[in-house]
Amino acid sequence: MTEKTPSTQKLPASLAANPKLSSWVRFSSDGHVAVSPGKVEIGQGIVTALAQIAADELDVDIARVRMVRASTAGSPNEGVTSGSLSVQQSGRAIRQACADIRQVFLFAAAERLGVGPEVLEISDGTISGPGNVSTSYFELADEVSLDRDASGGAQPKPSARRMVTGHSVQRLDIPDKVFGERRFIQDSTWPGMLHGRVLRSELSHAALVELREDGARKLPGLVAIVRDGNFAGVVSETEVDAELALAALRKGAKWTSREALPDETGLAEWLKAQPSELSVIASKTASTQQARARTLRRQYTRPYITHGSIAPSCAIAQWNGDRVLVWTHSQGVYFLRADLALVLKIPLENITVEHMEGAGCYGHNAADDVALDAVLLAKAADGRPVRVQWSRADEMSHAPFGAAMTIEIEADLDAAGEIIDWRHSVWSNGHTARPGRANLPALLAASELANPFPRYIATNPAQANGGGADRNSIPLYDFPSWQIECHRLTTMPIRTSALRTLGGQANVFAIESFLDELAAERGEDAVAFRLRHLSDPRAQDVIRAVAKRAGWKGEKRDGIGYGLGFARYKNTGAYCAAIAEIESTEDISVRRLTIAVDVGEAINPDGVINQIEGGAIQATSWVLKERVRFDRERISSNSWSQYPILRFSEVPEVDVEVISRPEIEPVGAGEAAHGPVTAAIANAVFDALGLRIRNLPITRERLIAAMELAS
């Protein structure tokens, strides 16, 4: 079909980009249906949610659904699995594709059975009509070709008729994981597989000025030493051999640092002083001018934060002549392929990139970097597959970080203390340097080669796509006028890219902290103050729900504080309100988080709760503990002891209420809680101690400093 029919205009974006039905769904005569999304499992349960949608729309039991891992060999190209968009994008596409497919099969069955399609029913894949006539998807699989484009002509089922979505089903991947089956890329082995390791300096931006190979050459199992400029590595028969060869090579290496890192103690000012690109994100002028009585200005900061995946990044690559096959836990197989083609200078079709599950990544970690490492090392492996895994230290010092941010908010108040103008400015590196977006590769080793590519400087997605550093910087509150600006740094001594919520966590922290302060100053209740400034009923509902559930502002007790935070993720996604209950003894401990969330239709309610709980706990860890440490030459927080995260005994209780709206298109849940929880904890600290902590993380040192300042 080459002509565009009017109905294709209505196709969901992912389906419009990949209209061929057979690229999404295939039936086999053995009674299974293969569903092939372009999105990937990163521990968020997406594959199960998509299987639910397919099972519902096709009327097959979910046990018949086989989910296919994304591969550039044939999967629909759905870009990257990020930004809590998978249910929204892939889910809508699969729902519409399956509705179309169901209709195609109904017509084919009608023809075969000699009845009208309107009298047919489908139950678990069996298509039956009056007088006990029946056939099935599986029987018809060979004669009905799905090599046709989606028409968008079939109407997906209304929410009331969906039987599988909207109910909590057990995730398809969990049994393998509790039985220790080989599901992760880190655990997969291939015949003849070799092991590679890349030699990287502890220094950032290091030049390899000398490399003596003699020590490593003597070791058993060594297959090759690879050197290309500042990129060096080993390939060995076994993983132990590779580790020993790497250690020997490290002894023979001399490095120098080529670029200084910023002064960690003056980070907020450093961000403001760097060359940057200014964007006006939003601007609104009041219809009537009000008299300004005073202006309040506050500054908030967030440090660099590491992704901290529990698994170091890993990839496997195998060359066959001038073609290469890559297994990766990248979030975007097509994007990774594009960058590999730029570095290798070979056509896209010579590269196949196939997804395998890794550990949770929480954004753009080293998954893509290690894929290029494996491809480069595998060149020396004579056609054998090479598995490369990063070290914990490399993962925590050379993978991209979530960007540090400085945020300044000014509010003009009238004589009654009402907000009449609001100005919000962000200074930060860009929040995405993912591969595949530019004609410059974003992969680490590309900048290390003898003929290096320039280092890719992180950018920000457009506000229409959720924004980057500016994500959630536009208030949802009805202030009469505002000016929102973002300064993106054009230098990048510390590598940054996407971490869950991009700038959303810090912007929500800043807005909600400041609002809390303004409400407190007026002596107005934080819940009432917010409700008074919100006209969106879904926003009001999550705030009311969380206040009710948490018993907002119960008895005031010594050392206990309560705080509220609210946001709609990206201003277009999930609504989320959180109330934190904290206890302040020597340290701040978060005892309980109560959260209300509205994701529209919740495909798998327990999956939504799982994502919200996880996001809330991760945010608590960021707020109380996390900060990338560095001196002028190196990232020093390169182990778990140098970069502590929240432990079991420190984890708060998390109580989640999902406000169900089955009639509203679903949005993702994975990033909804981070901003509201961050703000709720900070506001609870004020409630307990009377201290406004505006610099994250909220550590004991920060509390002591704030107390000294206050006294």
């Binding site: 509790v178 039985f179 993983e239 529990i310 698994a311 949770g360 996880g614 995260i645």
Partner: protein, 156 residues
């Protein structure tokens, strides 16, 4: 000539290997048991936990020689789909994970706890898991699942 002998998941195992090699490298390499995961290599995250004589230890920094003549149990030895351990059943029932990379080590820590304390309180469960890191934030579900498994094991 084999130079190390230990019981692995109930089976006498003889190995000829450098005794200084980490137990984790031996399990994942020559022995092909990839349930214990490499996370940090420094005993700081617990993803590689295995039971050695009923105690949870980090296999990544345990030298092979130190398990000579001992009982080593990995996640594969705890149970499988055909014969699941109550902890594994409970983790499925509670959907107690997100990415699951840390979970084999956490199940091992939990098994060690239930061996020495069949009725742990929530605080005792949290304390027993304090050396295991989970980045996805599935902690509370895991604690619930362990309580559930403990209750089930007390009944049987």
């Amino acid at each position: 000539m084999p130079n190390i002998r230990f019981r692995l998941n109930g089976v006498e195992t003889d190995l000829d290997a450098d005794p200084e090699t980490s137990l984790l490298a031996i399990l994942r390499g020559p022995l092909g048991l990839t349930g214990p995961h490499f996370g940090c290599g420094a005993g700081e995250c617990g993803a590689c936990n295995v039971l050695v004589d009923d105690r949870a230890v980090t296999a990544c920094d345990t030298p092979l020689w130190s398990v000579a003549n001992k009982d080593v149990i990995t996640i594969e030895g705890l149970g499988n789909a055909q014969k699941p351990h109550p902890l594994q059943r409970a983790f499925i029932a509670e959907q107690a994970l997100q990415c699951g990379y840390c979970v084999s080590g956490i199940l091992i820590s939990a098994a060690a706890l239930l061996n020495r304390n069949p009725s742990p309180s929530n605080a005792e469960i949290r304390a027993a898991l304090d050396r295991n890191l989970c980045r996805c934030g599935s902690h509370n579900r895991m604690v619930r699942a362990i309580s559930r498994a403990a209750a089930e094991m007390r009944k049987s």
